[in-house]
């Protein structure tokens, strides 16, 4: 009886609460992120980003329900991906020379591990918890932050990974490109979201360029960091549990000619 209770606790409470609490409380300060702060976007623009985000969230939740039935062992992968996305998206990294701080996104890695739709949902959950309890982002800007970090970060990273693998790129190189391009795409989207809402009578693309250039000194090197991290983790998972990744994105893991014994 005691064993049964312990088993139930382990499988149902700990497995659910630990990542949720982990996501809930891991936040350094409210000032090191791409998150658009509460109240910055006008209501009409906030609503537009909400609509786009909700469409992808609905699809993502449907994919999660379908995949968890089909793929055994997906829950630990979701736990790792969710925790990593949250950890990374609130981890401030000081950038030398530029003298400022920002953070990587984690969603490109999440997209490679669990697919872009599921990664979008995980990113959205992380952003919601940050907005609610950690003074990080905002409820009114949640939709815009989902679109930039969770959605675009996931899909840009996933797309880059698939594309590079199609051209026989080594796993590390493809994952590096995913992290790099996913990170930059996230900040380009944030620039567009801000410019589209705030440009007023001035040029949309002029303001977009100005914001993107302001992000560049911090985010260009952080893209490299995100690429290295993504490449390292994906390579490690591939070496230890290749079947996990091949189940999620089989086309990207077709055997490729390699001179290295044991694969890439």
């Amino acid at each position: 009886m005691l064993n049964k209770s312990a088993h139930w606790l382990r499988n149902h409470i700990v497995l659910t609460l630990v990542p949720v609490l982990g996501l809930l409380f891991l936040c350094p300060t409210p000032a090191y992120a791409m998150h658009i702060t509460e109240g910055i976007l006008p209501a009409n623009w906030a609503a537009i980003w909400y609509v786009i985000a909700i469409i992808f969230l609905v699809i993502g939740i449907w994919v999660i329900r379908k995949r968890t039935k089909e793929v055994r062992g997906l829950v630990p992968l979701l736990g790792v991906a969710g925790a990593v996305i949250f950890l990374i998206s609130v981890f401030p990294v000081p950038v030398p020379v530029a003298g400022s701080c920002s953070h990587p996104c984690g969603t490109p890695l999440g997209a490679i591990l669990v697919g872009p739709f599921i990664s979008t949902v995980l990113g959205a959950l992380a952003l919601l918890i940050q907005a609610l309890f950690l003074a990080h982002g905002g409820i009114s800007t949640w939709g815009a932050n989902i679109v930039s970090m969770a959605l675009v970060g996931s899909f840009a990273g996933f797309g880059a990974f698939i594309l590079f693998r199609r051209f026989n790129a080594p796993i590390f190189v493809a994952a590096f490109a995913a992290g790099l391009l996913g990170d930059w795409a996230t900040y380009a989207t944030t620039s567009f979201e801000l410019a589209s809402a705030l440009h007023g009578t001035s040029s949309l693309w002029g303001m977009f360029g100005a914001i993107a250039v302001a992000f560049a000194p911090t985010q260009l090197p952080l893209g490299i960091l995100e690429g290295l991290f993504t490449g390292g983790v994906v390579t490690l998972v591939y070496q230890r549990r290749p079947e996990l990744l091949s189940r999620i994105i089989p086309k990207a893991f077709k055997p490729v000619p390699s001179t290295v014994k044991g694969g890439d």
Binding site: V18, I40, F176, L180, G227, V237
Partner: protein, 105 residues
Amino acid sequence: MKSPGKIITTGIVVVFVALAVWGWLALSRQAPEGDEGPWGGVDVNVIEKYAVDAGREPREPFINTDQGDLLLFVFAFGGAVGGFAAGYYWRRLIAEKTERRRDAT
């Protein structure tokens, strides 16, 4: 690395990295400095700066945990719990399976 695909894709990534390093160094002088001063976050130095210039002041969050040492507590506690969560699932995903495989063989 005999495959042309590998050489080309690796070359593309190297070009990206070179451009990123060049852009980082070239644009660093133009990095805006916000109210937080050096090492401020880009959401204050960039996002809030452009928003305020456009007449959109940020609002206080609904639940403001940025008070006194509360945020420091949240960060420390969250670091411990988040690290545990990531490690726990990583072990379930990687280490336990590897051990099972080793035992089976």
